[in-house]
């Protein structure tokens, strides 16, 4: 097997592992201390504070997009190549 194929397999493995890790992390239940009171005062129930940002995950998400993008492009190129005549 050529060096290129070793590299392709390594990249693929990294992409799958990293992608799986992030996909798992993004669906993990939030167990922070921001609990809601949801009590009733007057006529309105009071919820807890909304979580309105996601930018802290940007670096990880960009890394996943880059790695999986490279894997896809490299894989497609591998699949599309014509067999070399010996």
């Amino acid at each position: 097997m050529s060096l290129k194929k070793h590299i392709a397999i390594a990249l693929t493995a990294i992409g799958l592992l990293a992608g799986g890790a992030v996909a798992s992390a993004q669906t993990t239940t939030d167990t922070t201390g921001v609990t809601a009171s949801t009590t009733t005062t007057g006529t309105t129930a009071t919820p807890g504070t909304p979580n309105t940002g996601a930018g802290g995950d940007a670096a990880a998400n960009w890394a996943i997009l880059a790695v999986t993008g490279i894997v896809v492009i490299g894989g497609v190129a591998y699949l599309m190549r014509k067999p070399q005549v010996q």
Binding site: V22, A36, T46, N51, A54, G56, D57
Partner: protein
């Protein structure tokens, strides 16, 4: 390993990678919110049945907000109604371009605090609808367009940043002295363990005229 089986494996890997790419892109760039923070359909505990019924049907009523406009910071956003997330927090909009009105509270223009939240950024770090909320100052104008075609004019009365645990929830949600509009978004430093920012920016506004 035959040539065909190698290609089969390569195809499977490409499809897996493409799936992960698509999921990450959609989750981070389009559907910004953590699933636990989206509207769960759970009603607030202790809320009178009549009010729950009213809230459940409120999205069909004429007085509900459909658009929020803040000329100073270039916001002209679609308003969606939101309830509670799975953890009991105010839910957030699905996308980073919409804002969410808390449907279990007053409608804008009614006496009480109508609360609208919006994202500050998305999972790729792209600025979201409330990225510039910190620039608002007392006296700035906010406008709400309702489903009935009415436009409500609010003026900023106060802005404040709080640590998450110190957000005065009663002040944000339950001031019943006059028609109020409260905007809320994230601010501060990202807490990786909690997957959220450690502060909240709150803008308090009062109705001027309709």
């Amino acid at each position: 390993m035959t040539f065909d089986s190698k290609k089969f494996i390569a195809l499977a890997i490409v499809l897996c990678a493409a799936g992960i790419f698509s999921y990450t892109f959609l989750h981070a760039a389009v559907y910004t919110a953590n699933p636990d923070d989206l509207d769960s359909g759970i009603a607030p505990a202790g809320m009178p049945a009549a009010l729950l019924s009213d809230a459940a049907t409120s999205s069909a009523e004429a007085g509900v907000p459909v658009r929020l406009r803040i000329p100073k910071i270039g916001v002209d956003a679609n308003v969606v109604d939101v309830g509670l997330g799975k953890t009991g927090n105010m839910a957030v909009p699905y996308t980073f371009t919409d804002v969410g009105w808390y449907r279990y509270g007053p409608k804008p223009g009614q006496v009480g605090s109508a609360v609208i939240d919006g994202h500050v950024d998305n999972g790729l770090g792209t600025p979201a609808v409330f990225i510039n909320l910190t620039r608002l100052e007392p006296g700035d104008d906010l406008y709400i367009d309702t489903k009935a075609g009415e436009t409500l004019h609010f003026k900023v009365e106060e802005t404040a940043a709080y640590a998450v645990a110190d957000v005065p929830l009663q002040k944000v949600f339950n001031r019943n002295d006059m028609p109020r509009l409260t905007l809320i978004t994230c601010e501060g430093t990202w807490e990786p363990g909690q997957k959220m920012y450690d502060e909240r920016r709150v803008v308090y506004a009062v109705l001027q005229s309709s």
